[in-house]
Symmetry: C2
Amino acid sequence: MATDDLMSRALETIGEDGPLSVEVIHRLTDLADVPDSMMITEVADLLDVSPHTLRYYERAGLVEVARDGNGHRVYDARAVRRLVFVTRMRLSGMAMRDLQHYVSLVDAGEQTVPERLDMLVEHRDTIRRRIRELSLSLAATEYKIATYGGETGPDVQTLGTGLDAGLDTGLDQRRRRIG
Amino acid sequence: MATDDLMSRALETIGEDGPLSVEVIHRLTDLADVPDSMMITEVADLLDVSPHTLRYYERAGLVEVARDGNGHRVYDARAVRRLVFVTRMRLSGMAMRDLQHYVSLVDAGEQTVPERLDMLVEHRDTIRRRIRELSLSLAATEYKIATYGGETGPDVQTLGTGLDAGLDTGLDQRRRRIG
DNA sequence: GTTTGCGTTCGAGCGCGCTCGAAGGCCTAG
DNA sequence: CTAGGCCTTCGAGCGCGCTCGAACGCAAAC
């Protein structure tokens, strides 16, 4: 993209921000509110996903879940913690297949730690890139809002015209379904 | 999610960051490097999308593009600016249908400005939420990297154990294809 | 004059990540 | 005894956003 350099510049305002304080991050693991065992809907509510999705993750091999006498899933703290990790990684954009690969590395033992680290580092960089992109879009959107409203935006007359040209291009009603 | 409050807290470190400087944002519009007319591959290269995608956007009604004598697409500066806007919005996660709706509002005239503003504001909030989520994931990932490596991470012994439990849960080879 | 290389239209197909529906089991309440 | 409700498995379907292939056209290069 032609705006890559601008992305970098714009994001310097926000900063590369190193890791947050250990205390805060430690709490992020949610170790506190994980009961010994939970049923599927409880976990679903906790993680804000559907039971369908939890079964899907299990089918995909991302987590092992025991069954009770009725064949119902019983999530122990370990499974829930795994799912906290999985959902957080999903939320941050890690693909299912990458998550599957990561989990397979965990299965494979300690000697895969370097490769796991590689994956995490790469994912970290991906997240950072994504944050930069979003910050740029955010800035552009905020600017657009400001000039549209004309209340807080400076130079609405001059800047606004140039910007809005990209938006006010006439289009007739020929918008159609695709597929 | 159970970590919503933590998200808010964690993100205070980074701040709500108001709009960037007008000068920087003005440059984001890329008004400078937009020639009078471009062919499809030029535009594709500029925006870092495929010609297929550009035709798709046109089919979807997001932009109107003229043709030359050979029936080839000719993108004028207006179309290119529109596509800059479209791709930026797509990159920031705005759905195709929302973009289609937005464009239809632009077509409909000045009286739709309030609704356009509503859309932009809502989208701005979506981006902000997304950035918060990503920042949280970033912090968690960075923490995980630090404790894995054990080089810079403090309390690796105590904290590391609790955290890694979510990752080191054994899983056998029953990972299977889905779908 | 044919080959190369770019473009066109159109409809179909794909990969991802769910999301759902059918068919059935167990348990509890009324 | 039966109805409701929540669970199970399994395979199929869906919505999104592309992505591609087929069949073709023009135009410059060899």
